[in-house]
Amino acid sequence: MIRVKELKVKICSSEKKSIDVVKACFNRIKKVEPKIKAFLKLNEENSLKQAEKIDNLNIKKGLLEGIPIGIKDNIMVKGESMTSASKYLYNYISPYDATVIEKLKSAGAIFIGRTNMDEFAMGGSTETSAYQKTANPWNVEFIPGGSSGGSAAAVSAGMVPFALGSDTGGSIRQPASFCGIVGYKPSYGLISRYGACALASSFDQIGTLSKTVIDSALLTSVIAGKDYRDPVCQPNDWIDYTYDLDSSSVCALRTIKLGIPKQFRDYKTDFEIAKYFNDAVNKLELECSQIIEIDVPAYKYVPALYKVIMCAEVSANIATFDGIRYGYRSPNGKDLNDEYAKSRTESLGDEVKKRILFGTYVLEAKNYHKYYNKAQKVRTLLINQLTDAYKKCDFIFTPATLQMPVRFGNVLPEECDIFLIAANLAGLPGITVPCSFTSSGMPMGVHFMGPRFSDQKLFKMASAFEKISNFNIDKYPIL
């Protein structure tokens, strides 16, 4: 398995040709994509053209010169389709570039295709996509997770070295761990949201999915940073997140304090996940990391909190899809209001409708204080408890998910992603790293969550763990 960073060095020194890398990707895609269905759209022709152009440059200075990447279908690329896997946007063409896309373009990255997702990123299985189901490369009967399931499956199946996703409630990290790759959600405000189709504005963050931690760090170095187009985006100077992620970082484990929430015990956890998580804990202790127990009682409110606030913001964000200026307009509307309703009802999926209705309800004048405002206060409680916890430890360490991926059509329990969602509620950075394969032959992962803007340290932690875990990242699913 070759790291993107090495790949890039080889391409820049013309030791390797970008066009060969791109061709390799499409060969793999032709072989496995029919089984996986990770992509909603592929740009083979343009990608090859672009690769050729880059190969002919005599100076290649971009950080990702000639490197192929997959883009989740809710991120705007000027002139390309952007459906967010919804029927409503079936014919939508992005009129502009997202900030992260601008940065990737100037870094020389090549956009291989648009990856599948849950409709408007609402879901944890990629099954709510209006267009296709994506399979888990490790077992095509199983869900890849979601909402960034297309990105996760594409990377895990080796169709593309890494991909962009978006994470509102675990939507990068959960599918990443279901597919046995690295998934990273930055601190809220580290990466510009401009040009990412909004789900819940106060949780949404664009993030990375890759085979290795250093690849995610490299990608983050390219797309992170200040952007006046996103008011919540931190005005930080450029950071090289790959800096010092080499072997030496294992020693870093000696000074690390990891907190395991005792609430972890309150939940029914897949016994193999529990087992391999304990192995991981032991490995870390052997490296002399300090493992302590922390108490965050508010964890039990996380799924409820998330439901209320996310749905409330969804109800407002999705309101703009009304059939007036773009997207699907029902031919059956009698008057304006009827046309609004029919356009939306005929083009939005059930999960989306359910969330809109629930979100609308909790914001109605008579419910606002009972539900929405109450949830925002409990959110404060959670944040306070997490802040206290970080006085005792550097990172909060848990399994990525409490359950293994399920077969299509089966639902996961509400609490499955509880430790991932907490990061979104508090705006904290979180990264999932593959831990080991279970007897089912499916991967399971662990999750490190740090204080706000500890992202650089978080990468060091994850990369150190990556090195001591015996998860073989060079192993690809047989397809």
Partner: protein, 97 residues
Amino acid sequence: MLKKELETTSFLARINIKDKEKEKYLADINAMLNYIKILQEPDVKNLKPTTHVTKIRNVWREDIVKPCPRDVIRQMLDMAPEKEKTFYKIKKVISTE
């Protein structure tokens, strides 16, 4: 949530629900409402709601005009389900102006 409330809510949200679907939606939403009851449990009356996790304040730009490129404006209009000249064409609106 009562059937009556579901009807009001679905009008506010401009989502139509067929009569035969209503029971299903009511069941789902009431299950969700039941699930979030737990939020009434903790005492948070002295806590401020968290509307923004960021500590940044007063983010603003100078008053400078940067017109949107003509081709982008054209493309946006071309995506309109219906247009007339450079207007978005829509169903008759009962004037309130």
